[in-house]
C-alpha cells in the first residue's frame, strides 16, 4: 500500500500573526511549523504504515526552506520526501497549488492521498479537494477516523452535529482534521537518519500534464484585497432569569432576528 501525504510549512501563529505594511503575511518574522491538520494527516498515514506496512511519501510545494517539514516528517517515520520548488511556482493561490501538486503526484504510484483539511495561514480548505478533482479521485473531507476495508477506505467524516461513515474505493483522497489524532514525536535516531536522507527535488519540468497558465502567480485567479488576523467574537450577552422567563426571552430574540 502506498500513501502520499501533502504537507505545508506554515508560520506558527501561536505567538500572534505579523503583517507587512501591504497587508500580506510577514513570513520572515514568524517561526515555521508543519501545518497542524497536515501533521494529523501524516500521523494517520504513519498508523497505516504501522498497521499495514504502507509506504509513506510526503510532498510539499514551497521555498527550498520547506525541506525542513519534509525532514521533520521523515524523522517521525515517513519513508520519502519530495520538494516541489521553482521560481515560476511562486505566488500560487489554491488553484495553482493544487495544479502543481497534482502535476507532481502524477509521477507517483499511490492508493491514498492524505492532505490536511486546511492550512492555518490561509484557512481555505480548497487544495485537498482540488487535487482530487485534478486527478479524478473520490474525496472524503474532514476525516476523524480512517480504516482500510479491502480495496476501500472507510472514513468517519465530521459534520456539524453528527458524523457520516463514508466508504470509497481506493485510490482516493482524504482531508484530515487535527482532531483526528495526536501526532507522534520524532525520534532522535529518526532525526539523524532524516538529515542524512536524500530529498527528491522537483521543478516545473517534472510536473506532468499541467499548463503554464495554471501555475504560480500568473495562474492564480485569487486576488487578495486584504488579509487580517482572526476577529475575536464578543463575550455575548448574559441574562439572569428563571427557566420560564429565559425561554420567553430567547424566543423573543429569535423572533427579532426572524429566525423563528
Amino acid at each position: 500500500m502506498k500513501v502520499i501525504v501533502c504537507v505545508k510549512q506554515v508560520p506558527d501563529t501561536k505567538g500572534g500573526v505579523q503583517f507587512n505594511p501591504d497587508g500580506t503575511l510577514n513570513r520572515a518574522a514568524m517561526l515555521t511549523i508543519m501545518n497542524p491538520d497536515d501533521k494529523a494527516g501524516l500521523e494517520a498515514a504513519l498508523r497505516l504504515k504501522d498497521q499495514y506496512g504502507a509506504e509513506v511519501t510526503v510532498i510539499t510545494m514551497g521555498l527550498p526552506k520547506a525541506e525542513d517539514v519534509l525532514r521533520e516528517a521523515m524523522a517521525m517515520g515517513a519513508d520519502k520526501g519530495i520538494l516541489v520548488t521553482d521560481r515560476v511556482l511562486g505566488g500560487a493561490d489554491t488553484w495553482a497549488t493544487s495544479t502543481t501538486l497534482a502535476g507532481a503526484i502524477r509521477n507517483l504510484e499511490y492508493d491514498l492521498i492524505i492532505t490536511g483539511r486546511q492550512a492555518i495561514d490561509g484557512d481555505t480548505a480548497q487544495v485537498g479537494p482540488q487535487i482530487a478533482e485534478h486527478l479524478g479521485l473520490p474525496v472524503i473531507s474532514y476525516a476523524e477516523e480512517i480504516k482500510i476495508d479491502g480495496d476501500s477506505v472507510v472514513v468517519k467524516r465530521q459534520y456539524e452535529d453528527r458524523y457520516h461513515m463514508v466508504k470509497a474505493k481506493m485510490p482516493a483522497l482524504i482531508t484530515a482534521l487535527s482532531e483526528l489524532n495526536d501526532p507522534r514525536y520524532m525520534t532522535p535516531g529518526g532525526i539523524f537518519d532524516a538529515l542524512d536522507a536524500e530529498i527528491t527535488t522537483w521543478g516545473r519540468a517534472n510536473l506532468v500534464d499541467v499548463d503554464d497558465s495554471n501555475l504560480g502567480l500568473k495562474g492564480s485567479p485569487t486576488k487578495i484585497a486584504k488579509a487580517s488576523d482572526k476577529v475575536r467574537k464578543g463575550s455575548g450577552e448574559k441574562v439572569n432569569l428563571d427557566a420560564e422567563e429565559s425561554v420567553a426571552y430567547l424566543v423573543g430574540k429569535l423572533k427579532d432576528k426572524h429566525i423563528v
Binding site: 524523522a75 514525536y185 520524532m186 525520534t187 535516531g189 532525526i191 539523524f192 538529515l195
Partner: protein, 388 residues
C-alpha cells in the same frame, strides 16, 4: 571552531523541548510532592528512543551521540530534575559500561533491552562506608563453581527499585600493588529478581524526590559466572571510566536545572511589580540576571565540550575525557546551585513556596554537587591532571 549547532542537534533540541513541555512539566510538581516515580513518562521515553540515544542501532539504540544524549538530559532537567537523572543513570551508568566492556552475549542479552527502553538500568558502587573512597568496598563476590556469590549492600542507588538490570561493583580478592595489599575489585551484571537480591530502605531525599533511591542488599545472591563485566580485577577502572561518562550526564542535569530556573526568573521579574514598576527595571535584578545568564552559558560550553570529547573517544578509543567531564560537572553543579539560589531570591517570598518551580529546582540542584563524585572529587581529578 564553530559554536553554532548543526541542524540535527537543533531538531533534536526541539524534540526534547516539546516532549519535556508536554509530557514532563505537567507532572514535575506531583512527582516531587508525592515522591512518585514517573513510570508513564519512562514508558513514553522508551517509545521514542530516549533511553538508547547514544547506543548504536545494531544494539537497539538510536545511533546518535553523547551530545544528543546530553541535550536530552538537559531539556528534561529544565522542567524536572527527577526525570533527567532517571535517563542519566540508566544510560551513562548501566548501558554505557555494558556497551564498553560487555561481551557480545552480554550486549545482546542486556544492552539491547536497555537501549530499547524495555528494561531500566542502575549502577551500584556506593556503600555506607565507601563513597568517594571506592577502596572501602565491603561487598564481596566469591566464585563457586559456575556462579558468583554476592554478599553485601549498596546504598543511595538511583533507579534503585525501578530498574531491571544493575551494574554492581564488588571485591573479588586481594592483590599486591607496590608492596601494598589492595582489594581486587570487579564489576558484575545483576538482574532484578535474582534470589538473594532484595531492596532495603527507600531514601527520603531533599531533592530529585521522584527518583527511586534505594539500598540494594545481596545475601548469598548467586549470579552466572558469565555475568562478570570486563576482566576480573578491573572493576575499579570500569567504575571510574563509567563515572567519567556519568559526570557528563549529571553536568547536563545541573545545566538544565540552572537554565530552567533562569527562564522562570526572567518571566517572573517582568511580571512582578514593586514600587510601581516591574522588578526587571531595577539594576540589582538586571545585574543578577546578567551574571546568571553568563554562568549558564559558560556551563553549557563546558558540558557540550565534554560530550564532544566523549564522542571523540568513541571514535578513536584513545581521547581522554576525564578532565573535561570533571570540569563540566564541577562548573555546572556549582552554577546550578548558585543560579537556583539566586532565582529563589529574585522570586522573594514566592520563591520559598512549593507552588513555584524554583523552590524545587534549588533543592534538586544540591545533589548535583554531591553524587557521581562530589565537587571536591572533581577538583582532585582536575588538579591531579594539572600537576602530573
Amino acid at each position: 571552531m564553530n559554536f553554532g549547532l548543526e541542524k540535527k542537534y537543533e531538531m533534536a533540541q526541539t524534540l526534547f523541548r516539546e516532549f519535556a513541555e508536554n509530557e514532563v512539566k505537567p507532572l514535575a510538581q506531583e512527582v516531587d510532592e508525592t515522591e512518585k516515580f514517573p513510570r508513564e513518562t519512562v514508558d513514553k521515553m522508551a517509545k521514542y528512543g530516549f533511553l538508547g540515544i547514544p547506543i548504536p542501532k545494531e544494539y537497539g539504540g538510536q545511533g546518535c551521540d553523547p551530545l544528543t544524549y546530553v541535550m536530552c538530559v538537559e531539556e528534561l532537567s529544565k522542567v524536572c530534575g527527577t526525570t533527567g537523572v532517571i535517563v542519566s543513570a540508566h544510560t551513562s551508568l548501566c548501558a554505557d559500561p555494558i556497551q564498553t566492556y560487555g561481551t557480545e552475549e552480554q550486549k545482546q542479552k542486556y544492552l539491547v533491552p536497555l537501549a530499547k527502553g524495555e528494561k531500566l538500568g542502575a549502577f551500584g558502587l556506593t556503600e555506607p562506608g565507601a563513597g568517594t573512597d571506592a577502596q572501602g568496598q565491603q561487598t564481596k563476590a566469591v566464585l563457586d563453581g559456575d556462579e558468583w556469590v554476592l554478599n553485601g549492600s549498596k546504598c543511595f542507588i538511583t533507579n534503585g527499585k525501578e530498574a531491571d538490570i544493575y551494574i554492581v561493583i564488588a571485591v573479588t580478592g586481594t592483590v599486591e600493588k607496590r608492596g601494598k595489599k589492595m582489594k581486587e575489585i570487579s564489576a558484575f551484571i545483576v538482574e532484578k529478581g535474582t534470589p538473594g537480591f532484595t531492596f532495603g530502605t527507600k531514601e527520603n531525599k531533599m531533592g530529585i524526590r521522584g527518583s527511586s533511591t534505594y539500598e540494594l542488599i545481596f545475601q548469598d545472591c548467586r549470579i552466572p559466572k558469565d555475568n562478570l563485566l570486563g576482566q576480573k580485577g578491573k572493576g575499579f577502572n570500569i567504575a571510574m571510566h563509567t563515572l567519567d561518562g556519568g559526570r557528563i550526564g549529571i553536568a547536563a542535569q545541573a545545566l538544565g536545572l540552572a537554565e530552567g530556573a533562569l527562564e522562570r526568573t526572567i518571566a517572573y521579574v517582568k511580571e512582578r511589580k514593586q514600587f510601581g514598576r516591574s522588578i526587571a527595571q531595577f539594576q540589582n535584578t538586571q545585574f543578577q540576571l546578567a551574571d546568571m545568564a553568563t554562568k549558564v552559558e559558560a556551563a553549557k560550553l563546558l558540558v557540550y565540550k565534554a560530550a564532544m570529547a566523549k564522542a571523540q573517544y568513541q571514535k578513536d578509543g584513545k581521547t581522554s575525557y576525564s578532565v573535561e567531564a570533571a570540569m563540566a560537572k564541577l562548573a555546572a553543579a556549582e552554577i546550578a546551585m548558585e543560579v537556583t539560589t539566586k532565582a529563589v531570591q529574585l522570586h522573594g517570598g514566592y520563591g520559598y513556596i512549593r507552588e513555584y518551580d524554583v523552590e524545587r529546582m534549588m533543592r534538586d540542584a544540591k545533589i548535583t554537587e554531591i553524587y557521581e563524585g562530589t565537587s571536591e572529587v572533581q577538583r582532585m581529578v582536575i588538579s591531579a591532571n594539572i600537576l602530573k
